[in-house]
């Protein structure tokens, strides 16, 4: 289990992380979501002890990274797939990592085969495509058969086949009871590959929950058809709903759940003909949640009109 407590990091005068506090549990894939520049990579670096926190801590099963006797056996991480000496072969890269943590040589061939790059194991990494480098990085993360796995933007640069492979791979790691923590700035990716999602923006914790929880809390609407829509409109508006009339029979209701709409209609004696929750997509939820925390806003398009 991964525990982040009051994690704060200040670089000169910018506050990269501001009192971050959350837990990542084993057995599920946890997505770590935020716009670019929101502090995802900084968090990963602090977990690995590469940077010092200004305040707070990140612990793995109760220990900080520096307290781990053989870190690769407990935590596997892929931060930057291209951060490998280009003149070294894939096998030598993995052999050097394995040697430091006293991992058997046979394991190097095992992970090379698992990620499917055994045929280029003796080639220099400099000639690898981004997809091959990602696979090598994953091989490195798996080397010590660790309980906790961290991946920073792993789908970047992967082809569709690779993305599918990596999704299934995360799922299987979680099913084995491991803690899988995956960062991304792509909501759509997390919606399909993660069970739990932690959202941050501008270094601050925003929310946490399952994909369903997050969409449920969002401002979804309800489509309703009823026998007497005028009466239903007045009933709903008096209960604080925002109502738009679509046609003679249909309404779009905001601010109430479908359960609440049904309940109110029943009490008022109105016959409901159709009741459909219109769920906000996770993408919309994400945009909504992080709207205030996007580091570089898109600005207005069409400058010429001014």
């Amino acid at each position: 289990m991964l525990k982040i407590q009051h994690l704060t990091k200040r670089y000169d005068d910018t506050l990269a992380l501001d009192d971050l506090d959350f837990e990542v549990k084993p057995g599920v894939v946890t997505g770590f979501l935020g716009p670019n520049g929101s502090g995802k990579s900084t968090t990963m670096r602090l977990i690995l002890g590469l940077d010092r926190p200004t305040k707070g801590s990140a612990t793995i099963n109760g220990k900080t990274y520096h307290e781990l006797k053989a870190p690769l056996r407990e935590v596997g991480a892929l931060l930057d797939a291209k951060a490998v000496h280009p003149g070294r072969t894939a096998r030598n890269h993995l052999l050097s990592l394995a040697a430091s943590n006293q991992i058997k040589k046979a394991r190097v061939d095992e992970v090379l085969e698992f990620v499917g790059i055994e045929s280029v194991a003796n080639k220099k990494v400099g000639g690898f495509s981004l997809g091959m480098s990602q696979r090598l990085g994953i091989a490195g993360a798996l080397l010590g058969d660790p309980e906790v796995l961290l991946f920073d933007e792993p789908v970047n640069g992967l082809d569709p086949e690779g993305i599918r492979w990596i999704r299934e791979f995360f799922r299987s790691l979680a099913n084995e009871g491991r803690t899988v923590f995956v960062s991304s700035h792509l909501m759509s990716e997390m919606a399909v590959s993660a069970d739990q999602i932690i959202v941050i923006g501008r270094g601050k914790f925003i929310t946490q929950g399952s994909v369903d929880d997050l969409t449920a809390t969002a401002h979804g609407t309800v489509f309703v058809r009823a026998s007497d829509i005028h009466m239903l409109t007045s009933t709903l508006t008096s209960n604080g709903a925002e109502v738009h009339e679509i046609n003679d029979l249909g309404l779009t209701v905001g601010g109430l759940t479908s359960d609440q709409v049904g309940e109110l209609a029943y009490k008022a004696g109105i016959t409901i003909l159709e009741l459909t929750p219109q769920r906000a997509s996770l993408e919309e939820v994400f945009m909504d949640l992080t709207a205030d925390s996007v580091e570089y806003g898109g600005g207005k398009i069409g400058v010429a009109h001014d």
Binding site: L72, R73, H85, A98, S100
Partner: protein, 264 residues
Amino acid sequence: MTNEVTLLSTMKSEWIKFRSVRSTILGMVVFVILTIGLGILVTSLIHAHWNSPGSQQDHLTFDPVSTSLVGTALAQFAVGVIGSLFITTEYTTGSIRTTLAAVPNRWKLIIAKTGVLKISMLLASEIVCFVAFFIGKAIYGNMDPSIPDTLTNGADLRAVVLGGVYLTLLSVIGFSLGMLLRQSAATISTYVGIVLVIPLVLFFFPKSIQDSLTKFEPSYLGREMMSVNPIQNAFSPWVAAMILVIYAAVLWVCGIMVFQRRDA
């Protein structure tokens, strides 16, 4: 114990890294060719001109060992570059993060890295210096009966051994500069500046200042370490070696202090 990150396991890891990149191999090849090749060239020339008219004066200060090891004057650049790149490529490629994720203890990492560098450079340098020395000896042959011709002469042995020590210490200096500066180009230019440019600058100072400072220059310390005959106005070989050890140690400690404190 067997599953932990130890100093020895980290050294094994660093040894794999050290030998598995072209810059090390290429640097070593250049180092060997320069030291031995230049030694052959210079000793052959001296041998050919030994009995030419007017050379009698030179015979008095002739040092068969220094002239055999003359290639180290160029090889010092190769070893410095090997040492520098061993750490700066970790930064230029970004692999320092992978390295530190595997070995979070930074003291352990640097001690292991320096250990691998020192052992391999010392081994290579001693072999190269002894080869250059023996080739020189063979070329000089019995050119002049007044030249002492065995290695059992303590001064010869000391000069050749200290030649290897000199080159090893220079690689550690290159490595330490690399820890401080992190960029390959900046590190190599600083290193070349220290070894080559300082003597040139000193050359323009008044003779009194030159005389008191020259003996402290790293490359001059090397000359002192490898000389068989005492040099005027210079340190003895052992004192020169100690001074160079202090230079390397101070830079190394500064390097590790900065490395320890800095975010990777």
